[in-house]
């Protein structure tokens, strides 16, 4: 059964061998990877950093994923399995991910002290606690503001959600709507990115030519930053339309579509790969249904089963294609789940001791940071919070998280100035 679903990438094969101890280091994998996909990697300069976030809505159980505690009262029925990092074990629900753990860094000492879905999600995505006196921009908005190329016609902040419509959300706060997320509901391309079916290509060209010609008349008289931005946005829009294929997963090879799985999450992960390769600065893939107050184990069996393979494929492919050095990978939730198993075989909200996974970019690979006690009820070492994590994400992609942005003449720190990055996990 395992073989049937196994990823067939080169990186996987190598990682597997390394895992089996027949190969000394990972250098070979890297070298081969860059030989194979050197061209793709070369197109990106070192400044072209990206972020991909897997947001597991509802609250992933750390015990059924990154911090298993088999054999203790709170541990649940699942075993822990070894991974490509010697000594690191994760839940047996993640067999594919186990093979790529040498790319990742597990943060097991997360304590966010907030058990409310909305507030927890806000803290994890903005790195700050919500106050009445004003919102802060989400990670994607900050990343898009700091990393995106102004000339890039594709949106810099993309959200792939399981369903729902498209359009922008107000998650950029004071950075302005330019950096707010464009949702690809159900993985569909952005709204209005296609020429209306009853307009011919000739008519469209004529209209845009005429628009440019008429604009020119006005711009000869007055050309300012605001007029430039406006006319430029149309040219960018036309370029996005030309690149509409970027949002079409069906354009990926059948083999890859097989590997990632033909379910929504699989397609969304493949779309994420496609977008990252096209130069999108921030992609967030949402996977939902983790709020398992009832039947925690059945649900995690199902959810992790869906998550495992496409996620592992994406990380492996990024590494394989030489993109992982430029791409920060984060797996987060709004909080973890209680070690205590309730009457309904469920686990409730638990923010005192849970896990977040990072990888790629400047994050140390194959590392575990932080520790929980035997039952998983408390952090005993390497405790971190949402604010520190937020700083760390930014630092990992080369953004000085302690710097400020001038917004309407006010200096606003990028991340919570009361917190610091977790330097120990950054190279």
């Amino acid at each position: 059964m395992q073989a049937k679903y196994a990823c067939q990438s080169l990186e996987h094969a190598l990682a597997r061998r390394k895992f089996l101890g027949t190969m000394a280091g990972g250098a070979m994998a890297g070298a081969l990877g860059s030989l194979v996909h050197g061209a793709a990697a070369k197109q990106l300069s070192s400044k072209d950093m990206r972020v991909v976030v897997f947001n597991l809505h509802g609250g992933l159980s750390q015990l059924e994923s990154w911090d298993p505690k088999p054999g203790v009262a709170t541990g649940g029925p699942f075993r822990a399995i070894p991974t490509s990092v010697s000594g690191l074990h994760i839940s047996e629900l993640l067999p594919h991910t186990a093979k790529i753990m040498h790319h990742l860094c597990v943060m097991r000492g997360v304590n966010t002290a907030e058990d409310d879905h909305g507030k927890g999600a806000y803290m994890m995505m903005t790195g700050r606690r919500q106050t009445a006196a004003g919102d802060h921009p989400q990670l994607g908005a900050v990343a898009s503001r700091m990393l995106a190329d102004e000339e890039q016609p594709l949106p810099g902040h993309i959200l792939i959600t399981p369903g729902g419509g498209g359009g922008r959300s107000a998650d950029a706060a004071y950075l302005g709507p330019k950096y707010s997320s464009v949702a690809l509901g159900g993985g569909k391309p952005p709204s209005y990115s296609e020429r209306p079916s009853n307009i011919t290509a000739e008519s469209e060209d004529r209209r845009h030519d005429l628009r440019r010609k008429i604009n020119e008349q006005f711009l000869n008289k007055r050309r300012t930053a605001i007029t430039e931005a406006y006319t430029h946005s149309f040219e960018q829009a036309l370029r996005l339309m030309e690149r509409r294929d970027t949002f079409d997963v069906a354009k990926e090879p059948d083999k890859d579509q097989e590997r990632y799985g033909k379910h929504d999450f699989g397609r969304h992960c493949l779309l994420a790969r496609r977008l990252l390769e096209a130069g999108v600065s921030y992609v967030q893939v949402v996977h939902s249904n983790y709020d398992t107050h009832n039947e925690n184990f059945d649900f995690h069996l199902e959810q992790m089963g869906e998550f495992d393979q496409p996620f592992a494929c994406l990380v492996a492919d990024l590494a394989d294609r030489g993109l992982l050095d430029q791409t920060l990978v984060v797996v987060l939730s709004e909080f973890g789940r209680t070690p205590n198993i309730n009457l309904y075989y469920g686990r409730d909200h638990w923010s005192k001791a849970w896990s977040v996974v990072m990888g790629g970019a400047k994050v140390h690979r194959g590392m575990v940071y932080g520790k929980t006690n035997e039952k998983g009820t408390e952090v005993t070492d390497g405790q971190v919070n949402h604010g520190q994590l937020f700083h760390t994400y930014l630092q990992a992609v080369g953004v000085d998280s302690t710097s400020s942005l001038a917004v309407e003449g006010r200096q606003i720190p990028l991340a919570d100035p009361a917190e610091q990055p977790i330097w120990n996990v950054l190279s």
Partner: protein, 983 residues
């Protein structure tokens, strides 16, 4: 009086002193001025306050069409229709601008504009959570319809009865901010007072000297007693419902401290910016509430406090001597028509960010107060100003002479004078700031005492509450004891009565009744027992009474102590107020100077921009001239070079022909040589043959026969010899010729070399000139782009000083309503609604409608059309406007462009519909007329000749393609840059 004085003042000098002069006039009392000499109209006073930029550098009046477009967008949130533009242009009324300002202010769309303005200003696109959006808009519509003044509206927002279901829309400001005291404080100070005090919540503002933590906490105290409370009630159908109310309680204040200076507590109390702290009259806790406020609520209802902080705030705001409120709203209304405030950002009124023109803000503020905070006459005055009606183009753009004629030396002098003043001011402000800080420090002792007493009073309040609780318990105990006693007494007398009655019954009975005797005995024993318990119960009553008295005493003592403390507090009130007044006085003194300092800086910046621009301009002219000169030089050199090259050519041709000659001579010589050699050989052969013949003669007998041959041979030899001699002569001749040719060749060669040299020098010179031209071209390019940037600066600063209009973007709503209006969609909706209204009317009524009623009907139809089309405006807002709780600012994004370029609705709006623009364009017989219609309707101006030409070619298609072309053209302009902005 002012208008008579002002124009006579020398321009630039006047501006420096103007602010002060005007400030003095204003602050010494506008009221007296009215009494003595009627003030000029507000719009004239506004223009009189805008005097800094010399008049010849001020933009002229905007063209009629563009003026109407601007006015319509500002007052009605939409561009005018093509018909309106044409009507306005054709209007012969010399005062047509004033007339149309009134017309637009009277338009139902103006009411809607105000509703939107209030909505966006107050709620900043926050989602409707606790108040229905339509209810809120309906309330605003009613208020605007009643011409509500801003201060009235503020009062209603602050004072609406929180216990009433009917006033929920009034309270939306609070309800949809979840009643959060900090959020409410921040937004109230931003929106109503023009000050974003958020950063002063935990410490004095780190960047804005003027925003103190005390200001924040002073304001917070007005809102901290209020919070959202969820209550249960039954609706009309008796179903259980829940509702959140913004309940105000009796205040409990707390001291504050800076996070940077721990342990030093301060007390702000309720305090409104520059007003003295408010002192509540002390009342014991029991006296702080009135009866239940909300009879419709199920369960325990929140009570109404006796004294309301919100009421206190409303009262303070309406004090005419309190300026920030009026300043804020005057500035916001100004921004409504100018795109930017005199103070910008609108919520940053502080001396480090002074009004671009303080005299103007003063006039505006006075004007708004004079108009009693009524928006319509105030907006009218602004629209009537020259400043509002100015064009975007500066005069020196068109005619550089005006720029060149500027007296740079004098401007430079002015600038230097200002710089000097700035230096002096910088020192002064520093001193004043120190004095202000010292005054704050002076507060220390009294403040410590104040905090101590307030804290103590808080404790006493708690003690009173505790005592009251105990007293209530004691009262209850006493009542129980009393009830017990009285019950026992009643029982005893009832038992006695029963015994009597039983005895009587027994006496009347036929014989001894054992049961009755038993009853008598039981009752007697019960009576006795009851009697015996009376003493105990009496003691219990006595004890309870004593307890109660004690509790009363304790409460009274606590209350007395509290009252005593309240008196002590009263005693320090005067010294604190005195010291605090000093703080305020120093702050004001500092503010004045600090403001002045920044204003002078703004002036310097303007002058600098003009001077820089002029310098670049002159430099550019110089470089351009130099390039022209260089090019001329190059031309001359090239001409000369051309003649050299002609000479070179002829000389090389000469040389060539000489060479040819030389070659020919050489060839001839060679031929001669060959011939001579051949002759020589022949001769030699003949001579040899003769010798042989002679030998033979010796051997032959008959000599004669050989003699003849010999002679013949001799002749031959001679002939050869003579040939040879001739050849030799010829050769000598040729050799001389060759020598001559060589000499000529050398000469020609030298001449050619000289010409080549000359040519080389000429080329070098040209390349040098080329180099120079190239570097000049680069300098000119650099200067041109620099000048362009400098011109942007000049434009920006001219607009800051209101010397020219600013190019500004339309708001999301303006884009939406404008597109719907120019494409006839909106009118169609209004017409439909109007028809429906008509149908609903009794047939006989129609002809008898009064003009008022007709107007009302248009208003209702307009409002209904807007409600039906609002979804579109919401969509535009999602694309073009800032998110909830953020203030709008311009940005251009790909999804905006995608929507305008591909949106199905835009596509259909741009299509032909009834008699709309596209339909008219399709039907137009005359191409010219169609293009005119297109431009006037969409851009409120005629097409330029180039545009006419471009469109003419575009239109030149067979009839069956006209429809597509018309739609394309309309769509192109709707998504074009000119349509997007307000000029």
């Amino acid at each position: 009086m002012l208008s008579r004085v002002l124009p006579s003042l020398p321009m630039l000098v006047a501006t420096c002193s103007l602010g002060v002069a005007w400030a003095i006039l204003s602050t010494t009392g506008t009221k007296q001025a009215i009494a003595q000499d009627p003030l000029p109209e507000l719009h004239d006073r506004i223009d009189a306050s805008i005097r800094f930029v010399p008049s010849h550098l001020v933009a002229r009046q905007a063209e009629d069409g563009l003026f109407l477009r601007r006015l319509s967008l500002d007052l009605r949130n939409t561009v005018p229709t093509g018909e309106e533009v044409r009507e306005f242009l054709a209007d012969p009324n010399p005062n047509k601008r004033a007339a149309w300002i009134d017309r637009f202010l009277d338009d139902p769309l103006h009411q809607e504009r105000m509703v939107t303005w209030y909505d966006l200003t107050l709620m900043e696109r926050r989602p409707a959570q606790n108040v229905d959006r339509q209810q809120w808009l309906t309330w605003l519509r009613r208020k605007v319809g009643e011409s509500v003044t801003i201060d009235e509206l503020t009062k209603e927002i602050l004072l609406s009865e929180w216990w009433s279901k009917e006033t929920r829309p009034h309270q939306r400001f609070f309800l949809d901010r979840e009643g959060d005291p900090h959020l409410v404080t921040r937004d109230f100070s931003r929106i109503f007072l023009g000050r974003d005090l958020q950063c002063a919540q935990c410490h004095d503002h780190p960047q804005v000297t003027d925003f103190k933590q005390r200001d924040y906490h002073g304001l917070l105290a007005f809102f901290s007693p209020s919070a959202l409370v969820e209550v249960n009630y039954k609706d009309a159908e008796k179903k259980d419902q829940k509702m959140k109310l913004y309940v105000e309680k009796a205040p409990i204040d707390a001291p504050f401290e800076s996070v940077f200076v721990k342990g030093k507590q301060h007390w702000a109390g309720p305090m409104l910016l520059d007003r003295l702290p408010q002192w509540d009259t002390y009342a014991v806790p029991a006296d702080r509430y009135q009866g239940p406020a909300t009879p419709w609520i199920a369960g325990e209802s929140p009570k109404k406090p006796v004294a309301s902080r919100r009421e206190q705030l409303a009262k303070l705001l309406r004090d005419p001597s309190f300026r920030p409120f009026a300043e804020n709203w005057a500035n916001r209304l100004w921004a409504m028509l100018f795109g930017e405030g005199v103070v910008q950002p609108l919520d940053m009124h502080h001396p480090d960010n002074p009004p671009s023109n303080p005299a103007l803000l003063q006039v505006l503020t006075d004007g708004l107060i004079e108009h009693g905070f009524a928006t319509k006459p105030f907006l009218r005055s602004i629209a009537l100003t020259q400043a509002y009606q100015r064009s975007m183009e500066l005069p020196m753009e068109a005619t550089p002479d005006q720029l060149l004629s500027l007296d740079s030396a004098r401007l430079q002098q002015d600038r230097m004078a200002l710089e000097k003043k700035i230096d002096a001011l910088r020192q002064e402000t520093k001193d004043l700031r120190d004095r202000w800080s010292a005054a704050i420090d002076e507060l220390g002792v009294e403040e410590a005492e104040h905090v101590k007493l307030r804290t103590e009073l808080g404790k006493l309040d708690a003690a009173i509450a505790d005592a009251s609780k105990k007293l209530a318990e004691a009262s209850k105990g006493l009542e129980t004891a009393k009830a017990n006693l009285s019950n026992a007494q009643k029982r005893e007398s009832l038992f006695s009565e029963a015994i009597e009655k039983l005895e009587a019954a027994k006496a009347l009975g036929p014989k001894e009744d054992a049961e009755l005797s038993g009853a008598v005995a039981t009752t007697t024993s019960k009576r006795d027992a009851t009697k015996a318990s009376l003493a105990g119960l009496q003691t219990a009553v006595a004890t309870a009474l004593a307890n109660h008295e004690k509790a009363v005493d304790v409460e009274k003592q606590a209350q007395d102590a509290a009252r005593h403390h309240a008196q002590l507090l009263e005693k320090i009130r005067e010294p604190i107020e005195k010291k605090y007044s000093e703080v305020l006085r120093q702050r004001e003194a500092w503010r004045d100077k600090e403001r002045e300092l920044h204003i002078e800086r703004l002036k310097v910046e303007y002058l600098q921009a003009i001077l820089d621009w002029k310098t670049s301009f002159i430099e550019l002219t110089k470089r351009t001239d130099e390039r022209k000169e260089a090019e001329q030089q190059k031309q001359e050199r090239l001409e000369k070079l051309a003649s050299i090259q002609v000479q070179k050519l002829s000389r090389s041709q000469l040389l060539e022909s000489i060479s040819k000659e030389s070659q020919l001579a050489a060839d001839a010589l060679t031929a001669q040589k060959t011939r001579s050699e051949a002759l020589d050989k022949e001769r030699a052969t003949l001579v040899a043959a003769r010798a042989q013949l002679q030998e033979a003669q010796k051997l032959v007998a008959k000599q004669e026969s050989l003699q003849g041959a010999l002679e013949e041979m001799d002749a031959s030899i001679r002939s050869r010899q003579s040939h040879l001699d001739k050849e030799r002569e010829q050769r000598a001749l040729t050799e001389t010729q060759i020598k001559q040719i060589a000499a000529r060749q050398q000469e020609a060669q030298q001449q050619l070399e000289a010409t080549v040299q000359e040519e080389r020098l000429g080329l070098e010179e040209v390349s040098k000139i080329d180099h120079r031209i190239e570097s000049l071209a680069k300098a000119i390019d650099d200067l041109t782009s620099k000048r362009k940037e400098q011109f942007q600066t000049v434009l920006e600063r001219s607009a800051n000083h209101l010397a020219a209009a600013r190019l500004r973007p339309m708001s999301a709503e303006q884009i939406c309503w404008s597109i719907l209006r120019v494409m006839g969609i909106f009118e169609q909706y209004v017409a439909n609604e109007s028809n429906d209204l008509e149908k609903a009317l009794p047939v006989a009524r129609e002809p008898f409608l009064s003009s008022e009623e007709k107007k009302e009907r248009v208003l209702i139809a307009t409002q209904r059309a807007i409600d039906k089309l609002r979804g579109n405006a919401d969509h535009f807002a999602r694309l073009y406007a800032a998110g909830s709780g953020q203030s709008d600012s311009y940005f251009a994004s790909v999804d905006q462009a995608l929507y305008l370029a591909n949106g199905g609705s835009v596509h259909s709006w741009a299509g032909s519909n009834g008699r709309n623009l596209t339909a008219r364009l399709m039907a137009a017989k005359d191409r010219e007329e169609a293009i005119q219609d297109l431009y006037w309707t969409l851009l409120c101006r005629p097409p330029t000749p180039q545009e006419l030409q471009a469109l003419r070619d575009y239109w030149d298609v067979p009839a069956d393609q006209k429809g597509t072309r018309a739609q394309e053209a309309v769509w192109a302009i709707l998504s074009g840059v000119e349509f997007r902005f307000v000029q």
